[in-house]
């Protein structure tokens, strides 16, 4: 579903991502690990198509279509959705109204909000004064209304309290595994790309493949749980040396199911 080929990206005139190769197949959930500042969020923002993330090399394919130069809203319409780490404040824009507008009146904000304890937030301005955990829940609710085929989550568990993590975790599970994606009725075939530091979210989603990013490139890949275990016990240095051994991370070639 998503293929990233030799992607290099500049932010503010400085190259941040170098020759990134990565793929997510339909029905798969891939996890992105990596130390702070390694370029994980930059990669997701680039896939979504935000300006300020200038692609200098390589391309992005979505469902075999080159979307490297496609505008943000068209990528969203094609089925890409992103839970942002630090979304901007939208003063004067009510969360409930936004959910209505983005789902073209197809989803009832009240119903979506209830499950995520966001009912009292529907009348509030989007992200204004939201805590870290509240932002995650609000982003999740918006993704639910959007129902993308490729779900990208930037640290979905960070800032979420111990009690809410269950709700958030189950919602994310439903979002990725439960329903069919927009435009693909009757066929689940969703995919996900998830950034996590703690791995807590792996208790709720069935992760298939893990990537480790270091210094703007993919250092290694493998079984996500094994990678997490490695990182926990040995830190990220091991991954970097792993990169030395492998030289270049090639996308694993598997035919789409």
């Amino acid at each position: 579903m998503l293929e990233i080929e030799d992607l290099s990206v500049e932010v503010g005139g400085k190259e941040v991502l170098h020759d990134v190769n990565l793929s997510v197949m339909a029905g798969y959930t891939n996890v992105l690990f990596g130390p702070n500042g390694s370029g994980k969020s930059t990669l997701l923002m680039t896939i979504m198509g935000f300006s300020g993330y200038k692609i200098t090399k390589g391309r992005i394919l979505f469902n075999d279509e080159d979307i490297t130069n496609v505008p943000v809203s068209d990528r969203a319409k094609k089925g890409i959705g992103l839970m942002m780490q630090r979304p901007p404040n939208l003063v004067g824009v009510k969360l409930g109204n936004l959910v209505k507008v983005m789902s073209h009146d197809q989803k009832d904000p009240q119903v979506l909000a209830k499950d995520l304890d966001l009912t009292s937030f529907l009348q509030r301005d989007v992200n204004v004064g939201f805590s870290g955990g509240e932002i995650k829940r609000s982003e999740l609710m918006q993704l639910e209304a959007q129902n993308p085929c490729l779900v990208m989550l930037d640290e979905p568990e960070s800032g979420v309290d111990m009690v809410s993590i269950q709700k958030v975790g189950h919602k994310i599970h439903d979002l990725i595994h439960g329903t069919s994606c927009a435009g693909k009725r009757g066929q689940t075939g969703k995919a996900a790309l998830v950034i996590t530091h703690t791995g807590q979210i792996l208790d709720y989603v069935e992760a298939d493949r893990g990537y480790v990013m270091c210094k703007g490139t993919i250092a290694c890949m493998g079984n996500p749980r094994e990678l997490l275990h490695e990182i926990r016990s040995k830190g990220y240095d091991e991954c970097i040396s792993c990169k030395l051994k492998r030289k270049k991370a090639e996308p694993i070639s598997v035919t789409e199911a």
Binding site: V72, S73, P88, L90, V93, V101
Partner: protein, 406 residues
Amino acid sequence: MSQSETKKKAEAAVEKKAAFGSDIDLGKYGKARQDLEKVSDLAELKQEDQETLLKVGVVPSQEGRSGSFVLMDNTMVHSSQLGSGVEVMSVLKALKVHDWLEQYSWKAVSPDADKYTARAFLEEADGYFIHALPGQKVVMPVQTCLMLKSKGSAQTVHNIIIVEEGAELEVITGCSTSKHVDAALHLGISEFYLKKNAKLTFTMVHNWSETIGVRPRTMIIMDEGATFINNYVALRPVKSIQTYPTFKMEGKNGVCVFNTVAIAHPGSEMDMGSRVLMNAPGCRAEITSRTITTGGVVIARGQMVGAASGVKGHLECKGLILSDKGIQIAIPELEARVPDVEMTHEAAVGKIAQDQVEYLMSRGLTEDEAVGIIVKGFLDVGIRGLPPQLAAEIEQTLEQVNLAKM
């Protein structure tokens, strides 16, 4: 000062330029008509005029209103009083009925302030007199409309509102231009007096057109514990507006809230703002302005003076530029005359933040939809708390303006 002395001063000021705003040659504008037909019921007005009223929040059926006053050019065409606890009539009539009104008339605004006040004074301008009686909570709003009907004339208006001790009043006033009227002028003098613990909510909607000049002159004098909430909405094109109402908070613990929402269309020049003088301890003031230019010039002024201990104020001017040709000028001023004051300001002008637009686009909205929803949200902050009917009308106006397309 005797009447003749005041008249002399006013005569001496007929050429006196105003401190702000482009100078208008008053010689080009004739006296506005005083002979238009009066109606006892607003529903008798021409359909076209009734629609004009509705657009500025004035309901011809008078449903949900405590009283109505309509001035077309310089003719009072209608005045009625439905609710109790409030008097509604023309200022000229009120001056005959109440001897005591003399001490309020032309006392807050000086006739010789500038050429516009001088002209209104010398023409013995009429306008609305609204008087909320002591301790009366007037449940439904009083509505007024000042409408320009004739090409090439200058409407002169003199309004007085007095809210007596402990009274509460809401006024909705709409100023508008009749269809096909161009090159006309509106000179509106307003003097508002809020007595001890009085409350006035004043909502003004301006719907002018491309060739109209507007020079309101407004002074508000507030006693102890008085609350004034002002909403000013100007979303339609205008040639030139310059307005700078001044609040004199003379009693302790007064509260003043002033919200402005405006759009400067190509060719419009809008010099707007308000000035709050906090002269007594514990007064609070909040000035908020949200302006957009789609090609015109906006000058958002705001001045707060803290001259007594424990006063608090916040001034906020935010302006969006939605066109290459527009100009936004924000001029917030704070002046502290005693140490024990807390006054802040926040001014920001510029284009819509790209990250906000893209955030919404990443949810599947088109760029136009994203800009539209952000702009509406931006303006919404300035008009929270408006009567629902008016809020709906404003919503509709914004739809018509179609901000996203600009």
